[in-house]
Amino acid sequence: MGDLSELATLASKHMETWLFYLVALITVPFAFGVLLDRNIIRAGFLLIGVFGGISALFLLLQAQFLAMAQLMIYAVGITLVVVIALMLTNPRMEEDKSPSIPAQKAPAALVGTLLFIALYMAILSEGWGNNSEALSPDNITIIGYSLLTHYALPFEFASILLLIALVGAVMLAKHDHFNSKADIDEIEEETKEISERNEHVVKV
């Protein structure tokens, strides 16, 4: 009987490497697409492929919970917010045909290279805690315990950060039309004008 444990033994180290390259082969073109597509909304949709690929990598590392969270939050939630923001700010949905400014190219290349070197060195560095022991099947329980005991403080800080962002967004979005006297006067004038016009129309 094909059981999960049997499958796990089947998926040897070798197979994992092959799968990794397969996922990379799918994900990297998506990432390039996000950068190179001139149609900015399509680039936004391509992000789904990138995030989906990353979630597949998490699955390969047997981090099921992270993979699902990645899919739910990044591949769907974040991408949708990005795409909708793009649609609202670029309502004509035209391709961006303006030529890129040459003065920006050199600093952009510099920052990109520096970032790449920093990430590369971080990946090569020691201290990733490589251990080959098998993960327990209920690692969700372990994640839960550590989030609420050892990492309780960062966890709480993350929630406070989100709360601040939420309150800030509400404050920015809240258009208080009637908070200043000038506004009220303006509106009164407008209504007066409109009513006069209406009277005129009625007379005619």
Partner: protein
């Protein structure tokens, strides 16, 4: 109302039941036969043809692993056909009409004919639209619902050997993650159509899905928290009632406070409660049951909004947006959207059944349970055994599947009833209701359940 109206409608209700019975028989006969063929018959034939061959064993096992996928693939198209027909006939019942009644005997084949018609229609790409995205959108809308449904198979078949593999430790979280993807398909289709109505439909769908996903997930999390597991098979099995009072039949479902009420009744009958305890304990048990019923209600409301059904079908509000995000679609792409919509309705109902209504457990102990179905299955299995074939069914799985289907369709009919009853929300009312009522309510319930379950 004339005096002849009542018997006329009774007649129609009878026809509706007959139609449901026939179609459900077709659906589950086909699915059962396909699963049996792929999971039992073909592997056995391979093993008989090449005994003692390790390669044949591997092939047979690989085919066996495909059973859940084949089951779902056979199930989805036939099920959608039935559900569309049931919805049209059901709505006709509520509005005292006849509904589709021409194609085939009494309209039984209406949706089959519709499906064939849709498949042969021309695919039209809108002028100025993004063809690639336009084609991908229905697929992104449909595919996740297929994969998302698979873990539920293990829960509703009492963890049958063939379906064990699809049971994940992240269970319900996986289902939720998968069922959140289709919104992307709607937004994509709406944008790629190069049509204002479609775009507005897509944007509405995104706003709606994001706001209603929060109460929906909170309701499920609270229930998981009460049960102490994310594993769908675990959750379903924990609700299985027995015939002793401490976990009696349907009272043991999560819908009635995850066993709080039968536990209280048991303590009361045994006389273990004294004085004021009788009242306080009853109060807390009832409070927990009330919280659970509210959670189930929040889930069903959120699910209705997630899958764009009336009263939350703003993405395709035909009085304002022609047909919303699928205005430009025709032919098989439109059929896929349609298929996915009904499949999603079925899946959210199944999730509700697994989370709150006991999965495949019988509501009354001893009523149509594993033993009854085992006695039905025996003659079939004996006949097959004489022909040298593997057994067709076992009582445990049969009873699980029967009850899960029964409960799921009960919820589907409830959704049809809601569709026939409620008017459509306005978009601002919809967002107000989601953010200002449902989310606070679900947060309060999370807190309340945390404390009450300690007091019960």
């Amino acid at each position: 109302m004339t005096s002849s109206a009542v018997p006329y409608n009774l007649n129609e209700i009878g026809k509706f039941f007959l139609l449901s019975g026939v179609w459900l028989g077709i659906i589950f006969g086909a699915v059962w036969a396909a699963c049996w063929a792929v999971g039992m018959l073909v592997p056995q034939l391979i093993l008989n043809a090449y005994p003692n061959d390790p390669c044949a064993l591997n092939v047979a096992n690989a085919i066996r692993l495909l059973t859940p996928l084949v089951g779902v693939m056979v199930f989805i198209p036939i099920n959608a056909m039935y559900m569309v027909l049931a919805e049209r006939r059901g709505l006709a019942l509520f509005t005292v009409r006849k509904g589709p009644n021409r194609v085939g005997p009494d309209g039984f084949l209406q949706t089959a004919a519709d499906a064939v018609k849709l498949l042969f229609k021309e695919n039209i790409n809108p002028h100025g639209g993004d063809v690639l995205m336009f084609t991908l959108a229905p697929i992104i809308f449909f595919a996740p619902s297929v994969f998302g449904a698979i873990p539920l198979l293990a829960a509703v078949t009492s963890n049958h050997d063939l379906f064990k593999i699809v049971n994940l430790p992240t269970g319900i979280f996986y289902v939720l993650a998968m069922s959140s993807i289709p919104v992307v398909g709607i937004v994509m289709g709406g944008w790629a159509s190069n049509n204002k109505y479609s775009l507005v439909g897509g944007l509405r769908s995104a706003a709606q899905a994001i706001s209603y996903e929060i109460p929906l997930v909170l309701a499920i999390i609270t229930t998981c928290f009460l049960v102490g597991s994310l594993d769908v098979v675990n959750i379903a099995q924990m609700q299985k009632g027995t015939d002793n009072l401490a976990s009696f039949g349907f009272l043991n479902w999560n819908f009635f406070g995850a066993g709080a009420i039968p536990h209280y009744l048991d303590l009361l009958m045994q006389g273990k409660l004294e004085g004021a305890q009788v009242v306080t304990s009853a109060f807390w048990s009832l409070a927990l049951a009330f919280c659970c019923i509210l959670l189930c209600g929040i889930y069903l409301t959120g699910a209705c909004a997630e899958i764009n059904r009336i009263p939350f079908d703003l993405p395709e509000a035909e009085s304002e947006l022609v047909s919303g995000y699928n205005t430009e679609y025709s032919g098989i792409r439109f059929a896929i959207f349609f298929l996915a919509e009904f499949t999603n309705l079925f899946i959210v109902s199944t999730v509700a059944v697994v989370m709150w209504f006991g999965g495949g457990a019988t509501p009354f102990p001893g009523f149509l349970d594993a033993n009854t179905f085992a006695s039905i299955a025996t003659p079939f299995n004996q006949a097959l055994a004489q022909a040298g074939l593997p057994p067709l069914m076992d009582g445990q799985t049969m009873s699980g599947a029967f009850w899960a289907i029964f409960k799921t369709y009960a919820l589907v009919y409830f959704a049809i009833l809601v569709r026939g009853t409620l008017p459509r929300f306005r978009i601002d009312q919809l967002l107000d209701f989601g953010w200002k009522k449902l989310i606070p309510l679900s947060l309060i319930l999370l807190l309340a359940v945390t404390y009450i379950r300690e007091l019960v």
